[in-house]
């Protein structure tokens, strides 16, 4: 393929990357938004490279295949796997045979690999990846039916490969179209490795079911997850724990910004998250405070106030979600190392998406302040003291059954439902449950 001037120009463009997060990947990948050479995109139709971060066993493998096939040519896949974990072919029988770049461990230079892949694709040095699925319509339809299009009568059969949606009753007395679909797991706002089975009427969710797809005991790629797993079994410096916590909360805030269309602010939050993970120098809490000011100025809080409240008392018993509803529960209060640092709990009131967003940012800032104090003193967290992960107190996580969340979202707009799920930052139990360990 001759390399024209257009191809050379296109090779220098910011690489559009679609991030597909599997199991054990937490909120990894969002930090790439801070890199100027990359552009994280919402739809694979814009992307040239799909970054498959984590482990893709179970239902995640077919989902990754579907998304991979939806990219336009020229395209490539880059794997980001846990160091020492299984190779890409092992967790997905029938995995893509086309050679793809693999980055091992959270420390790998993913950004450089993505940029190189894009350049090679457009220079013609790397062939575009073929489809993972078979080239067939969802249902065979050619030549069948009244006009050869597969349909029967008014709305029957499988015209052009799929049936038409039928009607169903709704609250306001009209019987209009009812569409059922499995959305996710690679949508912005959905919990990690979770598929949402939704029944829509218009844009309103009539019924929602959240189905985790993660395989238990998947290898962990996200350094935040790994750090908190480690803290359950070994003494860990408080400074590192708190920096990991700040990093996670900043990543969650970046996801919320991304959902709200504030790409640039999401990139800013992502660069703060990356800084929080960088090392002893870390990030100045004042920078997080500045981000909080921009959050207030962006009217995102006004937009999300009143969204995502739970009827009656909040079902959360621990974690940032509970503290955002006014419940003063934090496992760090029971840890003498934290008490010695002067730990003070941060609590919001309201229990809506707005309160949760403010809570996460406040906790990120507080965690950075604790980290700098702990680094001076050299405080250490011992495994026999209670541990507070970013999702709640270990080991049960303080989380709530996904059915409760799904039931509360029935009747909401889809965009409100996504905003609620994004602000809740739910993690499937497999990630925080002890791997067969005795209490």
């Amino acid at each position: 393929m001759a390399v024209s001037a257009l191809h050379r120009l296109a090779a220098a463009a910011p690489v559009p990357v679609f991030v597909a997060r599997g199991a054990g990947a937490g909120l990894l990948g969002g930090e790439l938004a801070a890199d100027r050479r990359l552009r994280l995109v919402a739809s694979p139709r814009q992307a040239t490279v799909v970054l498959a971060a984590g482990h893709f066993g179970g239902g995640l493998g077919p989902a990754l295949d579907r998304v991979h096939d939806q990219l336009p040519h020229p395209r490539a896949l880059v794997w980001w796997r846990a160091a020492g974990g299984p190779e890409p072919g092992d967790d997905r029988p029938g995995a893509l045979d086309h050679p793809a770049a693999v980055v091992h461990g959270p420390g790998g230079d993913v950004a450089q690999v993505l940029v190189d892949t894009h350049r090679r694709l457009l220079a013609g040095d790397q062939a575009t990846a073929p489809d993972a699925g078979a080239d067939e319509p969802p249902h065979p339809f050619e030549g069948r039916g009244d006009h050869g299009q597969g349909g029967e009568g008014m709305m029957g059969g499988v015209p052009f490969g799929r049936p038409m949606a039928m009607t169903g009753d709704d609250r306001d007395g009209l019987a209009l179209g009812q569409v059922s679909a499995d959305l996710g797991p690679f949508l912005v706002g959905l919990p990690a490795a979770t598929v949402a089975r939704v029944t829509f009427q218009g844009e309103v969710v009539q019924a929602l079911e959240l189905r985790p797809q993660a395989v238990p005991e998947a290898p962990v790629l996200d350094p935040v997850l790994a750090r908190f797993d480690e803290a359950r079994h070994r003494p860990v410096p408080v400074a590192e724990l708190e920096r990991a916590r700040a990093r996670h909360h900043l990543r969650a805030v970046a996801e919320c910004f991304r959902l709200a269309g504030l790409w640039a602010l999401a990139a800013r939050a992502a660069s703060l998250a990356r800084g929080a993970g960088a090392g002893v120098a870390g990030v100045d809490p004042a920078a997080v405070a500045a981000l909080g000011r921009r959050l207030r100025a962006s009217a995102l809080l006004a937009s999300w106030s009143g969204v995502g409240t739970f009827p009656g008392r909040s079902p959360f018993t621990g974690g940032a979600n509970a503290r955002a509803a006014g419940l003063a529960a934090d496992a760090r209060r029971g840890d003498p190392a934290y008490r010695a640092l002067g730990f003070a709990m941060v609590v919001q009131h309201g229990g809506d998406a707005r309160a949760r967003l403010v809570q996460r940012l406040a906790e990120a800032r507080h965690a950075l302040e604790l980290a700098s104090r702990a680094a001076d003193v050299g405080a250490v967290h011992h495994p026999d003291h209670p541990l507070e992960t970013p999702w709640g107190p270990a080991p049960d996580g303080g989380s709530v059954a996904l059915e409760v969340v799904a039931a509360a979202l029935a009747g909401a707009d889809w965009s409100d439902a996504l905003a609620t799920l994004c602000s809740l930052d739910l993690v499937p139990d497999a990630a925080v449950a002890p791997a067969g360990a005795a209490p």
């Binding site: 463009a13 919402a42 739809s43 139709r45 799929r162 790409w263 995102l300 937009s303």
Partner: protein
């Protein structure tokens, strides 16, 4: 056909096309610059060539179709949207003696442009036969219709002192005092409805991130390039209309008229593009309610103020 008419038939599209092309490039540069500044990744000269690189990538990429799209409408939507932007720009005056289409009822042309723009955006979301674009299209129509109404009241208020619906006369009537000072509510309301109808920034309900890019979720390659270009063109046309109707058009000391028009258009563009990166997307239902219960009464107030001011 007379030779003069022959020349005009070629010159009109050339002028409008040049303005829209330069304007669309400017929108892309401003967008890239605003992203870098707000994200803190540092402003650099390569922000000038980044839009060209991204456009080249879209030209090179394959255009993927969905299973059973409405191919004709999908192709028509960006063309119609760009055509409407061009029609709107054609009626905007650039100097006391020159506008591409000196129409007696330029405000009515703009009413048509805005209404049909809502249809074009809806078509773009309906055509791919995919769930997320469809939801985005329907959601956008509610916001588009509400903003349409407010924009028409605001533009009619501007026509009152000029005693004419022609944009030329409206600019002439601002010789003493610009409309942004005479009816202060006008420009803020106009900025909100411009963002709403062009679904930019806070009102990006048609191409929003919560629906994976909304109506553009299935658009790739040349389809995407055409749509982004048409969106930028519409933003430029709205900015030009705003400059003519509120910022005094070609009035200004020292420099010639077209230069002032270009400067004011660029300033409005910068404002609209910056809003996209600093203000979060609104909730559709809440915005529609707010539009009907707050913005529309404010538009009535603007009309009354304009009317009282215009009476001798």
């Amino acid at each position: 056909m007379s030779p003069a008419l022959h020349a005009d038939v070629w010159a009109a599209p050339l002028i409008v096309g040049t303005v829209l092309a330069v304007g669309a490039y400017l929108v892309a540069v401003l967008d890239a610059a605003a992203t870098r500044v707000v994200a803190g990744t540092g402003l650099a000269p390569d922000v000038l060539i980044e839009p060209l690189r991204r456009a080249a990538l879209l030209v090179v990429q394959q255009r993927v179709v969905t299973e059973r799209p409405d191919a004709a409408s999908w192709a028509l939507a960006p063309a119609a949207y760009a055509g409407l932007a061009a029609a709107g720009l054609a009626v905007v005056p650039w100097s006391p003696s020159f506008s591409v289409a000196d129409v007696d009822a330029g405000i009515v042309v703009w009413g048509t442009v805005e209404s049909l723009a809502v249809v074009a955006v809806f078509l773009h979301g309906w055509s791919p036969n995919s769930h997320q674009p469809l939801m985005a299209a329907y959601r956008y129509v509610a916001v588009g219709l509400s903003c349409l109404l407010v924009s028409m009241f605001v533009l009619i208020a501007v026509a009152l002192p000029a005693e004419s619906l022609a944009l030329n006369a409206i600019v002439d009537a601002q010789a003493g005092l610009w409309n942004v000072v005479r009816h202060p509510l006008g420009l803020p309301l106009f900025a909100v409805v411009a963002l709403g109808i062009t679904f930019w920034g806070p009102m990006d309900l048609a191409d929003g991130a919560d629906l994976s890019g909304g109506t553009s979720a299935e658009a790739s390659g040349s389809q995407r390039l055409a749509w982004q270009g048409a969106r930028a063109a519409m933003l430029v046309s709205f900015a030009a209309l705003g400059s003519a109707a509120f910022l005094g058009g070609w009035h200004g000391p020292v420099l010639p008229g077209p230069v002032w028009m270009a400067a004011k258009t660029a300033a409005l563009l910068a404002l609209l593009v910056a809003a996209g990166h600093l203000v979060a997307r609104v909730r559709a239902e809440r915005f529609v309610t707010w539009c009907w219960t707050v913005l529309l009464p404010l538009a009535f107030l603007d009309l009354v103020v304009a009317g009282l001011g215009a009476l001798p």
